[in-house]
């Protein structure tokens, strides 16, 4: 009897599509379709876990055999149904499909990866590392209106008497001429910059895309003097650092309002609401509201910045974007920041990589091989225990400043698993 059942039992191929990610963490699994951004989480134990492990084995080509008997198990039946529902894969009876269905598990290969970069370094021919550099950010000097701490969260002028000679800036940019620089950013108090003439001359003789980040009080008294800033291929961002003066300052920039982006730091809901109504009243076109941690407003962050379960329902990452999360830090990759102390950083929250006079190769090689910024991903606890690990944005400055490994409400301890399933 048993033999006859086995002979007549239907067999199926279940295959997941190449844009589908399947991740397992302890007894929780997630299937994410990066083409239509739909996903579901599931409890993954026993036979279902075995099926999932077969699927993620590269040699299985994202395909697994299912028997009719297995499909009769409620959890597996539901699981397959959900896969079909979100268009993450298909199931075909083997009698109707002679060949095994195959697909690719979305595993990433980067040809010129760290191993290759190190190998080339050993042969003294690693110069192509420069291709990874995209942006330079120079804090050319400090500002009396600046801050000693805010630069660790956002691009914000420093409060310091130090400054960088423009010759050093120019030499550093020249070292990077073979990079494909998208942007060069200057931050500081231009009025008080001792090499302003040289900077101005350089701006006129170069073809780079430029970005200036300034405080209103540093530029308002001499706004006529800075007409040259308003040119093609240049972005100007003004940080509104004093909301009581903002209405007046805003009017002073009205003539060039099309070329200015306003940055509004906010530390509370009250402040956010005030800015929101200001933006509407004055029809501010280009702006960004930036949450700022002031040491005492953690509840504001918890309520407005932290990731919650609902955020994942809005997730819309392509396969390539998931790969980025798995490999690079989108906040820092490709960027170097030079502070007025003439030190070069991949992230201002990490140790410096060298002095402005160091070779560009040494700086880049150090960051790529020993740094903690460009390639910093969510591969540490608690994120590496979470099924949403690679759907989350790269770690940023806020985590560092607040002193937490992530800004997230999801804690996938055992008790939370059931809640996750219910919500998905």
């Amino acid at each position: 009897m048993k033999i006859s059942i086995a002979l007549t039992m239907k067999r199926y191929w279940l295959v997941l599509y190449p844009d589908t990610f399947l991740w397992l963490k302890n007894s929780l699994g997630i299937i994410y379709n990066s083409k239509n951004y739909k996903h579901f989480t599931f409890i993954c134990r026993d036979k279902l876990k075995k099926l999932c492990k077969t699927l993620i084995d590269l040699n299985s080509l994202y395909s697994v055999e299912l028997t009719e008997k297995l499909l009769c198990q409620q959890n597996i039946k539901e699981w397959v149904k959900k896969i079909i529902q979100i268009d993450a894969g298909e199931i075909i009876e083997q009698d109707k499909q002679e060949k095994k269905l195959v697909s690719y598990f979305p595993t990433l290969t980067i040809q010129n990866n760290i191993d290759h970069i190190q190998w080339k370094d050993g042969l003294n021919m690693g110069g192509e590392i420069i291709k990874n550099l995209e942006e330079l950010i120079f804090y050319i000097n400090g500002s009396s209106n600046g801050s000693k701490h805010l630069y660790k969260q956002l691009h914000y002028p420093l409060q310091t008497a130090l400054s960088v000679n423009f010759e050093l800036v120019d030499t550093f940019i020249k070292k990077c001429k073979n990079a494909q620089l998208n942007k060069i950013t200057f931050i500081g108090d231009l009025c008080r910059y001792h090499d302003l003439d040289k900077l101005q001359k350089w701006v006129h003789s170069n073809n780079y895309f430029l970005h200036f980040i300034l405080l209103p009080d540093d530029i308002v008294p001499n706004i006529e003097k800075f007409k040259w800033l308003f040119r093609e291929k240049t972005d100007i961002s003004i940080i509104a650092n004093d909301y009581t003066s903002l209405p007046n300052q805003f009017d002073l920039f009205r003539e060039n309002s099309d070329m200015i982006k306003w940055l509004f730091p906010v530390t509370s809901v009250v402040q956010f609401e005030w800015i929101d109504s200001f933006i509407r009243e004055r029809t501010v076109k280009e702006y960004e509201i930036v949450p700022v941690f002031d040491g005492s407003n953690l509840p504001f962050f918890e309520a407005n910045v932290y990731t919650s379960q609902e955020d994942f329902n809005e997730i819309s990452l392509s396969r390539r974007e998931v790969f980025i999360n798995m490999t690079l830090n989108v906040n820092h990759f490709g960027k170097l920041t030079i502070l007025p102390d003439k030190k070069v950083y991949a992230s201002v929250n990490e140790n410096f990589l060298g002095n402005i006079k160091a070779t560009i190769y040494d700086i880049l090689f150090k960051e790529m091989t020993k740094g903690h910024s460009w390639l910093k991903v969510r591969n540490k606890r608690p994120c590496n225990k979470c099924v949403y690990q690679w759907l989350c944005p790269s770690p940023g400055n806020y985590e560092k400043v607040i002193g937490k490994p992530n800004l997230c409400h999801i804690n996938q301890s055992r008790e939370d698993i059931s809640a996750t399933i219910v919500n998905s």
Binding site: Q111, N178, Q180, R320
Partner: protein
């Protein structure tokens, strides 16, 4: 498809020279063999007449000086990139004096922006005489060997004698005297035709020298009209030859990337899986949104620069000499970047209509300079792929993968594709 195409400009060509990876010199057009299927022989046209000339040292020096100046201006001295100088012929060892002088000259320049290594394609006839020099300069050799003596029958000297014995003896001497060099710097190349087979050539080179050989079919562009029949009598397809062996599975496993189907599958995975990226930065770009030139032609000097014995500057040794993109003389290098850009745009945009509907446009590798009728007003592209053909291409590769599932992991983990 709704692809947007761009025209190249002088600046892009200049940047290609800044990042140039390979410079190949035709150091002589003379050869001590008269191979039946030689690309400069009786079967082909589109190359300058062979007059047993040698490239002059001054011309070679001028090219290197010209490039070194560009590199010094545009690359920071801490950023050393690999750079290959290749010696090509004719038979390059006939002009060993120039090769020695050029290496001496290049070394004297201390070009610290490029780590230079040397390559040579040789028929092996003069190898014995120059072994010590080649080893001393760590010149990477690609030796032409079509298999056993019978397989090698088209590689004959000017008296019609098979060169096999001489070549094999020379290579064996090299292997015996410098086993480490041989292991690291020597490769073999086999041309497939009707006198050999993939199986016999592979077996011979493996048994005799313990190495794989790269096997390629005869070049089927630039054939003289009156020689087409003769050409196709000699021609043999690599995959068909593997099939004929009756030993496909074993042979393909041994050949791995040298087997066309595995090589095609690798290419398919590289181009279409969406899981392989060249570098970290390329992860940021959605390739469907990147504007490109029509066809798959490399923009001039993106991969290499080829200098003929007459001083013509070409983007590749496979490109007909009539498409020269510059000239080097004994006193200067003449490259008109605007003119090259115009010429390039003119040829590639002849195909723009077809490219707009081609499913493979983002992954195309068809070089316009390899299309025989490119100079006609409306040339046809032989690599055009419509949606039906594309589906077949996908199915074919997935079927093959389904039968050889371990290849996915092997290709993803072990293969590195140099662009």
């Amino acid at each position: 498809m709704n692809s947007q195409f761009i025209k190249i400009d002088a600046n892009l060509i200049y940047q290609n020279l800044v990042n140039l990876k390979q410079l190949v010199f035709e150091v002589t057009d003379a050869c001590n063999l008269k191979c039946k299927y030689c690309g400069y022989g009786e079967l082909y046209e589109g190359y300058d007449p062979r007059k047993r000339q040698n490239l002059s040292l001054n011309r070679a020096k001028n090219v290197i000086l010209y490039l070194a100046e560009i590199w010094n201006k545009n690359i920071d001295s801490s950023l050393c990139q690999p750079f290959s100088i290749g010696f090509y012929g004719g038979e390059p060892l006939i002009n060993i004096i120039l090769i020695k002088d050029m290496i001496r000259f290049t070394e004297s320049l201390e070009i610290n922006r490029k780590k230079i290594y040397y390559n040579m394609t040789t028929n092996g006839i003069l190898l014995k005489r120059h072994i010590d020099f080649l080893v001393n300069k760590k010149i990477r050799l690609l030796i032409s060997l079509d298999g056993n003596e019978q397989n090698h029958s088209y590689r004959i000297d000017h008296h019609g004698n098979n060169s096999h014995g001489q070549v094999v003896n020379n290579v064996k001497k090299l292997q015996l005297k410098y086993p480490e060099y041989f292991k690291k710097y020597v490769r073999f190349n086999t041309v497939l035709h009707n006198m050999n087979s993939v199986e016999s050539a592979h077996k011979y080179v493996m048994d005799t020298f313990g190495k794989k050989t790269t096997i390629s079919s005869l070049n089927n562009s630039g054939i003289r009209q009156d020689k087409i029949k003769e050409f196709y009598n000699m021609f043999q397809n690599v995959d068909a030859s593997i099939e004929k062996s009756g030993n496909r599975e074993k042979l393909e496993t041994e050949l791995f990337l040298e087997a066309p189907r595995i090589s095609q599958l690798t290419n398919f995975i590289y181009r279409f899986s969406g899981n392989m990226f060249d570098n970290y930065r390329s992860l940021f770009y959605d390739e469907n949104k990147i504007e490109t030139v029509p066809t798959g032609t490399c923009t001039p000097f993106f991969k290499k620069m080829f200098i003929t014995v007459n001083g013509k500057i070409l983007p590749c040794e496979k490109v007909n000499h009539e498409f020269a993109m510059g000239q080097v003389s004994d006193d200067r290098v003449e490259i008109d970047f605007d003119q090259i850009a115009d010429m390039f745009n003119n040829y590639v945009f002849k195909f723009v209509k077809r490219c707009k509907t081609c499913v493979n446009i983002r992954k195309c590798s068809q070089c316009v300079f390899q299309i025989d009728e490119v100079k006609t007003p409306a040339p046809k592209c032989r690599s055009y792929i419509g949606s039906h053909a594309f589906q077949n291409y996908i199915s074919k590769n997935l079927d093959y993968l389904g039968k050889h599932p371990a290849l996915y992991k092997q290709i993803m983990k072990e293969v590195r594709i140099e662009n």
